[in-house]
Subunit: 196 residues, 2 copies
Amino acid sequence: MAKAAKFDRQEVIDLATNLYWKKGFNATSMRNLQDEIDMRPGSIYAAFGNKDGLFIETLRNYTDKGISLIHQYEQEKDSPLEALKDFVKYQVITTKEDAPNSMCMLTKTINELTSDNQELLDITKAHIEEISQEFAKLIEQSKELGEINSEKSALELAKYLQVQIAGLRTFAKIDGVECNLDKMINECFDHYPFNA
Amino acid sequence: MAKAAKFDRQEVIDLATNLYWKKGFNATSMRNLQDEIDMRPGSIYAAFGNKDGLFIETLRNYTDKGISLIHQYEQEKDSPLEALKDFVKYQVITTKEDAPNSMCMLTKTINELTSDNQELLDITKAHIEEISQEFAKLIEQSKELGEINSEKSALELAKYLQVQIAGLRTFAKIDGVECNLDKMINECFDHYPFNA
DNA sequence: AACGTAATTGAACGACCGTTCAATAATTAT
DNA sequence: ATAATTATTGAACGGTCGTTCAATTACGTT
């Protein structure tokens, strides 16, 4: 044994996540990151490899936090459907003002990157699929409880929800104030394909 | 009078549009553009001002082409609703493989840029609103023909459609092949809020 | 207290960034 | 033919990019 790293890894990753999330991968420079996380280039490269490596860790961090939040809602709420609905509202409404960026970091990355960064793209896609699976689990439970009356599979409904979230968050950034997001989200759950 | 510019302005803007669309604003360098449109820096700056100026022209070009296409469908198709539906399918399905980028250039820009480029952001938002208006016009006509039975206003339905397009295009880029986009789009028009 | 090991530092690298501008070329008007 | 005007060229600017690495520092072990 020798020196132990003095920086708090989780704290650093959180700061990096917020900066990458705010500015996007391309617009975030290593020097921006150095300032934000207060580390010198050598330390960053020793700890995370390179710009991509750090970004990959922040993606993992972002997705883990999202999934944790789903599980938290799952425990707090009365039904899996309520948990899901509240999570969607959190993603679209709360995040709109409280987060580093009103967009989902994963869809933002999907939007920004091209095949020039195929690895990052593939990882991002896989994370979105992970969240699909979490949604599908809740929907499956909800179906068994008879809360949902739909001929569509849980995974289809999960992906339908992700379409709505992606669309609503984009729309919310454009339209600013004058739209009732809460109502629009309720309507997603009240009508087809969630309920015929 | 003296020399006339020898380059074809429309052709140059088309090439620039495709490159900006493909790579995004930040990842497209002036040198990338120089190669793509075969002009030297001095000529580009004389003709378009700077990187932002050229981008603004490509945004205008992109939006104009979109609106023209809507009008073209409007003339070709039997009903305004058919025109609208076909335009949506074109945006989501055809564009997915034939275009420089499967994403809409406008929403991609909204996703990418921050307040560091407020002017570009505002212009982009305004263009999306323009397209809202075009959608609303078709929907209004369609309502008068009795094709749509909805308590929502034409503009609300137009924005609902834009949410669906933004969501579906993101989703389509993630999910790759295994989803029936055509069916999903039909369902948007067949159910609430388009038809109760 | 001295040693070995690993974390940290920060200057420096070559490449590329957006942009400028003096020099040159090409066209029209005289 | 000459002059006037404007488009075009491409080298060059200062700055920033992602990244490297020799030197230094700080800690656990002996």
